[in-house]
C-alpha cells in the first residue's frame, strides 16, 4: 500500500514535470557571420495556448523565426502547461541558461516576469500585452502593448456597415481590462458609422476563471443566443472559444436560412478556419505580435533596447483588419478612410 502510494506520487511528479515543459523547439540556428547578432541566444515563453494556437502565439513564433533568419541568433521557445503553472520557472530556466533577451508572450506574465526581471538585472525582458507598472526607459523590462482598440474600431465599423438588423454582438473571453479595450473600440467603431446601432456584450467567464479563453462550447452557446436575439454580426475576443462562434455562425445560418457573420481576432482567422466555416467569417482584427517581437529583437541587437512601454498600433502596421474572402471589399474604402483618420489623430479611439 505504502509502496504503491509512493509509486503513484513519483509518477505524478514525473507527469507534472513532463507537462510543465512538454515542448521546446529550436526553430533554426543561423551561423552566418555576415549577419549581426554574434550568435546571441533569444528565449521565448508562450502563453497558455502555446505554439499552434493559429493566433497569438503562432504570430510571436513567426516574428521569432523571421528574426532568426535575419540575424545571427539562436532562439528557444517554451510553452507552459495548460494550467499556466511554470511560467516563472521556464523564464528562470532561460535566464540561468544565459539568454540575454527573454520574451513572455501574454498579459498573464505580469507578476512572473516582473519578479524574474528584478532577480536578473543584466538580462532584458519583454512582455506582450503586459501591464507591469512603474517602468522607465532604463528598466530591463519592456511592455509591448497593442492598440487593439484601434483595430477593433475598424472591425466594429465593418460590422455596423454589414449588419442588416441594426444589432451586432461582442463576445469577450474573460472579463479583464485587456479585453475591455477590444469591446470599447468595437462599440465606438460601430457607432461611428451607425449611431443608432445596438451592441450586445457577453463575457464568457469572470476572473479567476480563465476557461473563457479555451471553451468553444461556451462561445457557441453565447453566439447562438445573440444570433437568436437578432444580432447578425458578432466579433469575438475570446481566444480558443472563438471556434464555437464560427461553428454557431454556420449552424445558425444554415438552419434558419439567413446569413449571419463572425469576425475573428488576433490573426486572419479566415485562413485557418475549416472551409465550411469560411463563408461566415467577415473579417478579422489582426494583431501582429510578430512585428513587436521582431522589432524588439532588432533593437536589442542594435543596442537600442529600451525599457518601459511601447504601443504598436495601426500606424506601425502591427494592427490591421483582414480582407481575406473578399467580404469587405465593397466597404474597404470607408474602412481605409477611418484608418487614415485614426492614424492622423482625427479620430481618437477609447480604450475602455
Amino acid at each position: 500500500m505504502k509502496r504503491a502510494l509512493r509509486l503513484a506520487a513519483a509518477a505524478t511528479v514525473f507527469v507534472l514535470i513532463a507537462a510543465a515543459c512538454s515542448k521546446s523547439t529550436t526553430p533554426s540556428t543561423s551561423g552566418g557571420s555576415s549577419k549581426p547578432g554574434n550568435g546571441q541566444k533569444i528565449g521565448m515563453v508562450y502563453d497558455l495556448a502555446g505554439r499552434g494556437d493559429k493566433s497569438f502565439n503562432d504570430s510571436a513564433y513567426i516574428g521569432l523565426t523571421k528574426a532568426s533568419h535575419d540575424f545571427n541568433i539562436q532562439v528557444k521557445d517554451l510553452t507552459p502547461s495548460a494550467s499556466g503553472q511554470g511560467r516563472q520557472a521556464l523564464m528562470r530556466l532561460l535566464a540561468t541558461d544565459g539568454y540575454p533577451l527573454i520574451f513572455g508572450n501574454g498579459f498573464a506574465f505580469d507578476a512572473d516576469i516582473a519578479a524574474v526581471a528584478k532577480d536578473y538585472p543584466n538580462i532584458k525582458f519583454a512582455e506582450t500585452d503586459g501591464g507591469v507598472a512603474d517602468l522607465t526607459s532604463s528598466s530591463n523590462l519592456v511592455m509591448n502593448d497593442f492598440a487593439a482598440n484601434e483595430g477593433s474600431f475598424l472591425v466594429g465599423a465593418a460590422a455596423a456597415l454589414t449588419s442588416k438588423s441594426g444589432k451586432v454582438g461582442f463576445i469577450g473571453g474573460v472579463d479583464v481590462g485587456l479585453i475591455h479595450s477590444f469591446q470599447a473600440g468595437f462599440e465606438a467603431g460601430a457607432k461611428q458609422v451607425n449611431p443608432s446601432i445596438q451592441v450586445d456584450v457577453k463575457y464568457l467567464t469572470a476572473p479567476p476563471n480563465f476557461t473563457g479563453f479555451s471553451d468553444p462550447a461556451k462561445g457557441k452557446e453565447a453566439a447562438l443566443g445573440m444570433f437568436g436575439s437578432g444580432d447578425d454580426v458578432i466579433f469575438h475576443a475570446a481566444g480558443g472559444s472563438g471556434a464555437g462562434l464560427f461553428d454557431a455562425a454556420k449552424e445558425y445560418s444554415t438552419t434558419n436560412s439567413v446569413k449571419v457573420w463572425a469576425i475573428g481576432v488576433d490573426s486572419d482567422q479566415y485562413l485557418t478556419a475549416p472551409a465550411e466555416d469560411q463563408p461566415y467569417i467577415l473579417t478579422s482584427m489582426i494583431k501582429r505580435v510578430d512585428v513587436s517581437v521582431y522589432d524588439t529583437i532588432k533593437d536589442f541587437i542594435d543596442g537600442k533596447f529600451m525599457g518601459g512601454y511601447r504601443t504598436f498600433g495601426l500606424k506601425s502596421g502591427a494592427i490591421d483588419y483582414a480582407t481575406s474572402g473578399g467580404f469587405v471589399d465593397s466597404i474597404k474604402s470607408q474602412l481605409d478612410d477611418l484608418k487614415q483618420k485614426i492614424i492622423s489623430g482625427a479620430i481618437t479611439v477609447p480604450t475602455s
Binding site: 500500500m1 503513484a8 512538454s22 505554439r51 499552434g52 494556437d53 510553452t79 495548460a82 469572470a206 479555451s214
Partner: protein
C-alpha cells in the same frame, strides 16, 4: 411481507413519476409567469431549451459515468481526466476517419482512463481520491504530449488544438410538430408557431417541446437513451443487483459468490467510457475541434450532479438539467438572469411555505427570508452585475443542493478500499 413490498413498489414509482411531472408543470408555470412580468423571453425560448439540452449532455454523461463507479463503491474523481481523454481521442480519430469513428475511439480513450483507475484502486488498493487526481493530471499532460506527437506539422493544428473534424454526426427534427422533413417533404412547425403566439403557459410548453425535438443530434439521442438503459441495467437486472451490492457491502456480496473485483473493474471502465462520450460530445457537437482546457471542469460538475441526484439516474438528470439550464440561460442572455431572480424568489417562497406547513419552522423561515432578500434584489435593481452572471449556474446548483442535501444517501461502501477476503 415480501408480497406487500412487491405490490407496493410499482405504485410508489408511479407516484414518484406523477409528483415529478407535477413539479415540472409548476416550474414551467412559474417561469411562464416570470416571463410575462419581466419580458425576459429567453427564459422559456426554444433556443434556451435546446441549448440546455446541449449544455447538459456532457455533464449528464459524466454524472452517469460517476453513477456506475460509485454504485460499485469506487469514487471517481478522475471523471474530468477521462473526459479530457475522450475529447482528445474523439477529435483525433474524428479527424482521421470521420465523426462516428471519433465517437468510438473517444469512448475507448475514456474507458482506458477508467481501466487505469480500476487497476489503481481495485488491484493496488490506492486511495480513490489520490488515483482520481493523478488521472486528471495525467490526462492533461498526456494529451499535451500526444498533440505534440500528432499535430506538430499539421496545418490548422498545434500542441493545444486538433484540426477540424469534418463531417457531422447528423441530427433529427420531429416532423409535423417541430417542422422536420418527412420523406423529404417540409412539414408544418406547429410547436414553433405556438411559441410565437406568446400565450401564457401554452407557448412556453410549445417552446419546450420545440427545443427538445428540433435539430436534435443523434449523439444527444444516444445520451438520452442511456438514462433509462442505465436505470434498467442497474436496478432491473441481476448484473445491476450484483454491481450495486458490491458498492453497498462487498463482503456480503463476496460471500454470496459475486466476483467483487470483476464487478468493480466493469463498473469503473463503463464509467470512463461514459465520461469519454461526454468529451466526444463537446468536440463533435460544440466545437468541431479538440482544444486544450475545453472540458473546463465539467467532470467535476458531473460529480456534483451525481451527489445532487442522490446516486440515482432520475436525480442525476435533474441535477445536470438544472445546471445546464442556468448555464445556457446565462450564456445566451444577460437580461434573463435578472428575471431568474424573481423565479428564485418564488421558488424559495414556495419551498419555505412547504416546510412551514410541515412544521419545520427553522428551515421554512430561512427559505422565506432568502425569498424576500432575492425579491428585494430583483425589485430594487434593473440588471444583475456582469461579474455575477457567469457564476449563476454554480449559485443555483448550490441553492438547490442546500435544500436537497437533507436526504442524500451514498452507497454504503462508497470510496472504501476493498481487499479480497478481508474480515470486517
Amino acid at each position: 411481507m415480501k408480497e406487500i413490498a412487491a405490490r407496493r413498489l410499482p405504485t410508489d414509482r408511479r407516484g414518484r413519476l406523477v409528483r415529478a411531472a407535477m413539479l415540472m408543470v409548476l416550474v414551467l408555470l412559474a417561469l411562464s409567469f416570470v416571463r410575462l412580468v419581466t419580458h425576459a423571453s429567453d427564459l422559456t425560448s426554444s433556443g434556451t431549451f435546446s441549448a440546455t439540452l446541449r449544455v447538459s449532455i456532457p455533464i449528464l454523461l459524466a454524472a452517469l459515468g460517476g453513477l456506475y463507479a460509485e454504485r460499485a463503491g469506487v469514487v471517481n474523481i478522475g471523471l474530468e481526466g477521462m473526459m479530457i481523454l475522450g475529447t482528445w481521442f474523439g477529435a483525433w480519430a474524428g479527424w482521421h476517419w470521420g465523426p462516428w469513428t471519433g465517437v468510438l475511439v473517444g469512448v475507448m480513450g475514456g474507458a482506458a482512463g477508467g481501466l487505469l483507475h480500476a487497476v489503481a484502486t481495485v488491484t493496488f488498493g490506492i486511495d480513490h481520491i489520490v488515483s482520481g487526481v493523478a488521472i486528471n493530471i495525467l490526462a492533461a499532460g498526456a494529451t499535451r504530449f500526444l498533440s505534440v506527437v500528432a499535430y506538430t506539422n499539421v496545418s490548422g493544428a498545434g500542441i493545444t488544438q486538433s484540426p477540424h473534424v469534418n463531417g457531422t454526426i447528423g441530427e433529427l427534427t420531429l416532423p409535423v410538430l417541430a417542422g422536420g422533413r418527412f420523406f423529404g417533404l417540409k412539414t408544418p412547425d406547429f410547436l414553433g408557431w405556438l411559441e410565437r403566439q406568446h400565450w401564457f403557459f401554452v407557448s412556453d410548453l410549445g417552446a419546450l417541446g420545440k427545443g427538445l425535438t428540433a435539430q436534435v443530434s443523434l449523439l444527444t439521442l444516444l445520451a438520452v437513451a442511456l438514462i433509462p438503459l442505465t436505470y434498467w441495467l442497474l436496478w432491473r437486472t441481476p448484473f445491476g443487483l450484483r454491481l450495486r451490492s458490491v458498492g453497498e457491502h462487498p463482503m456480503a456480496a463476496e460471500s454470496l459468490g459475486v466476483p467483487v473485483y470483476t464487478m468493480k473493474y466493469i463498473a469503473v471502465t463503463i464509467s470512463g467510457a461514459l465520461a469519454g462520450l461526454g468529451g466526444v460530445f463537446l468536440v463533435l457537437e460544440e466545437a468541431g475541434i479538440y482544444r486544450e482546457g475545453q472540458v473546463g471542469g465539467r467532470g467535476f460538475i458531473g460529480l456534483a450532479a451525481l451527489i445532487f441526484g442522490n446516486w440515482r439516474p432520475g436525480g442525476v438528470v435533474v441535477g445536470a438539467g438544472l445546471f445546464g439550464y442556468s448555464d445556457a440561460l446565462q450564456l445566451r442572455s444577460n437580461t434573463s438572469i435578472h428575471g431568474l431572480l424573481l423565479f428564485i424568489a418564488i421558488a424559495a417562497a414556495a419551498v419555505g411555505l412547504w416546510f412551514l406547513i410541515r412544521s419545520r419552522v427553522t428551515t421554512g423561515v430561512a427559505a422565506v427570508v432568502v425569498a424576500s432578500l432575492v425579491f428585494w434584489w430583483f425589485a430594487g435593481t434593473k440588471a444583475v452585475p456582469d461579474e455575477f452572471i457567469s457564476i449563476t449556474p454554480y449559485v443555483v446548483t448550490l441553492l438547490v443542493l442546500a435544500v436537497a442535501a437533507q436526504r442524500l444517501r451514498p452507497p454504503a461502501a462508497d470510496g472504501r478500499p476493498y481487499r479480497k477476503g478481508q474480515a470486517q
